[in-house]
Amino acid sequence: MSNVPPFIDTWFAARGWAMHPHQHEMLERAGAPALLLIAPTGGGKTLAGFLPSLADLGPDPAPGLHTLYISPLKALTADIRRNLRAPVDEMGLSIRIEDRTGDTSHTQRRRQRADPPHILLTTPESLALMLSYEDAPRIFAGLKRVIVDEVHALAESKRGDQLMLGLARLAALCPGLSRVGLSATVEDPPAIGRFLAPAPKACEILQADPGPDPDIAMLETDAPPPWSGGGGRYAIPAILDEVRRHRTTLIFHNTRAQAEIFFHDLWLANDAGLPIGIHHGSLAREAREKVEAAMAEGALRAVVCTGSLDLGIDWGDVDLVIQVGAPKNVKRLVQRIGRANHRYNAPSKALLVPANRFEVVECVAALQAARAHDLDGDPRGPGPRDVLCQHILATAAAGPFDADALYDEVTTAGPYTTLTRPAFDACLDFAATGGYALRAYDRWQRLKRGPDGRWALRDPRAAKQIRMNLGTIVDTETLKVRMQRHRGGAPLGEVEEGFAATLTPGDTFLIGGQIVRYEGLREMTVEVTRSASATPKIATFMGTKFATSTQLSDRILTMFRQPDWPELPRHTAEWLALQRKVSRLPRRERLLIESFPHEGRAHTCVYGFAGRNAQQTLGLLLTQRMEAAGLAPLGFVATDYATLIWGLDPVTDPAPLLDGDNLREAFETWLAGNAVMKRTFRASAIVAGLIERNTPGRRKTGRQATFSSDILYDTLAKYDPGHLMLEITREEAMKGLVDFGRIEAMLARTKGRIDHVPLSRVTPLAAPLFLEPGRVPVTGTAEQRLIDEAAERLMAEAGLA
């Protein structure tokens, strides 16, 4: 009890509230060097994080920064500032609380550096920037506590790695600093603890009462789901019924494109004119803010959204969450369900809508996992080194540093505890000299060693450039979309530059729930007009597709072992039974491969259950090996569970194609020239400081002065194949879109136990693959052929041929 000051007790009592046990516990354990609180949404988690700070600061605190609060979302920092202000005032504490993000004004930021508030609310990027200033030691002098909110979300990306390096820096500046992490439900709390704690110190973990289990079910519809596809359009009448029956419904989709298409169709079917909005990351900030404000006022009955609403912004009255499409990942599902009903101790309500027949199985498996509290997640790999390169440059921007001391400091950050000295030195060498085999930059090194042995910027002016490049979020190059003749008007949203380049005037596409007609490009802005057409000519513009998690795939394979499936709707159970009768059902420890003729082509279907990205990579590798074997493959298509390949000649013996060593060798060759690698390279090169970010002002002028990062990739691959950036690119690509790791896991799990089933016709499980979009043609000399065809056509159209 000793740790609860009277003003906090009085405040709770005056409200007639009892402190949650975990809030009390946070006060008791305020002295812990690292403490992770895991609590469900609505459990007063944020206040629990701040209570020890309020207790320590007291009614009349001395000036100086006391607590730093870091959140992944700018919007969240403003929210927290408002929500924390009230209790602080009511407790009668004269505590200054301010936020600082990319949106904070220049004057305000300068003032914050000169005279910091008691509690500063910020983001990982703004913290990195503050730490890169020469006066960082003065700004942070006296800092006692750091609160990291939504630490589970930060741990999923490079932003978390950057933050932990920043905390290691802070810990060196402020000895005795204690860290608190606030997290939603996660599968492996000790892993988040290791991520957060300053090594070798351990992290204490505090589990709040998780509250009642969510009320979660699959939406029953009159119409069965289609055999393939992802939109969930068939369920629109049933979904509208649910929206009518609830106060506010969130309708989650897995991709922005699907959200757009669904919203459009939902609107067409919305005869009752219910107020429904759309919210996703490609929409303009103004458009998103409008929806957020309408939500807060309770003016909307439903919002169609994507992961942009995943994090803990307070949405008030949401009483139903609908997930369209299989959730792909049970943890994400559980966190999304947490969006409904922010009242603690009341069950959240959620409905799953499978988008196709296979997803029925996936949804049932996800439901079982959620009820069993069996969350999934891949173990976090070691911290990426492009982030470390950036950290080294940022450290130099703040002032000269000693390499030994920096190495010791960096290895206290959770993600970098296993970093070896040679691996660190390679990053330091890259930051200092470029790290090239050709030592070309002796005169122009970025960092030089002074007479005292410490490293410093050669040219102090470089500090500004380094600060401008801070951060680990690398956006794809996007262009704003605006209505023509509304130059002052709000933009509708953004599309990828690559997508914009494929448009010709007259093309129609969906954005912000409306169909627009492409008119032209002006000043890096896509100009559109309203279109009266009922269906867009081009449907998609951004496809972030999640792969089904390993754990969920395993559950599905386990379900396949059952003799029958009373938990599945009849249409789906019958489908699986028929597959078992004419062929087999895939098993976890064996690899099922079916071969059958269809429409004059030989088809082979590989049920790897390795997730969409890995199945896609497998398709590329297998067709390459088939090409070499003279089997003349023509194309393939991949889903989360299988890859279907078609070609001229049938596969009679798939074993050599899938031999691990051969596959690995094919992978190495293929990887080097791959577009995914180039994309990964660009991101890593920007983070590491090899390529400067394209700031909007610069892009307009002198486009011919900047050149594609692909050129740098090709040059390095040709002249310096052992370079650190290529090594980092490889490491990053392996875990991302290429996902070769899961192919390796699949090979290890099946150990060459291949069941090859030759059949005379398409099987029930393979049939939906024929309807799957995203068929990849196998190309060899295809690009030049396509150019030739396009050139002839265009010249002929122009009357020049």
Partner: protein, 241 residues
């Protein structure tokens, strides 16, 4: 009017006429004028990585000069050119020319030996430079005049400077590559240097130079002719209803 031909059975080029001169666009972005035995390349930007580093910017892979020289050597060998004309911006700046590493400078000298070498001034490298050869503001030969930056109204003009690049859509996928731009009166060469970007072929900067009859020759093996699209409206132009 153009035709694809195989240059001495080794190199694919695209042949076309400009004010009476028979020219060939090579896959590398070089121009060969067979009758004059002249090979023209523009915007080599040698020493670009060094210049960026010198100014405190990123330390880019320092291999672009050797990559560019290797391309040039290949084109000289294949065409057997007696004259090589560098159409300006050959070096990223004058210090870059002076600061060329010894082995790369030697390589360039080797290429220059035994043939006529013309350096045209560019905006990045005005004035004479330390290497041999002739230094000119522009070069007139027969029906053609070579200068770095195109002048509106010129006839038979071959220039560089803009780094033109073509952009086409291939079944929902955008492809962008350097290109030659030409009409009956003028020709603009693509940038030849390894570290060069491009200006899109419909950029307003091309509006005063080309009418509606202009074409592009997109680099590739072999290069391909394409109709050049009209230019976008200039950025500062305001249209209001």
């Amino acid at each position: 009017m153009g035709r694809v031909f195989v240059w001495k059975q080794i190199m694919n080029g695209y042949a076309f006429m400009l004010t009476g001169a028979q020219l060939a666009a090579l896959p590398s972005g070089a121009l060969y004028w067979g009758d004059a035995g002249l090979l023209a390349v523009s915007d080599l930007h040698l020493g670009k990585a060094e210049r960026i580093a010198r100014r405190g910017g990123a330390l880019l892979p320092p291999y672009e000069t050797r990559e560019t020289l290797a391309r040039l050597e290949a084109d000289i060998t294949v065409t057997g050119a007696r004259t090589v004309l560098c159409l300006g911006d050959s070096f990223d700046d004058l210090d870059a020319a002076a600061g060329l590493p010894e082995d790369e400078a030697q390589w360039l000298m080797r290429l220059m030996a035994g043939r006529r070498w013309l350096w045209i001034e560019g905006n990045h490298d005005p004035g004479p430079i330390a290497f041999g050869g002739s230094h000119l503001a522009e070069y007139a030969a027969g029906p053609l005049i070579f200068r770095h930056i195109a002048r509106p109204g010129a006839v038979g003009e071959v220039s560089g400077h803009y780094h033109p690049k073509a952009r086409i859509s291939l079944g929902g996928r955008a492809l962008s590559r350097p290109c030659f731009l030409h009409d009956a009166a003028r020709l603009i060469l693509p940038a030849y240097g390894a570290y060069t970007g491009g200006l899109c072929w419909d950029d307003p900067a091309f509006a005063p130079l080309f009418g509606t009859e202009a074409r592009a020759i997109m680099l590739g093996n072999p290069p391909r002719p394409l109709p050049k699209p009209p230019c976008r409206a200039a950025a500062h132009e305001v249209t209001h209803a």
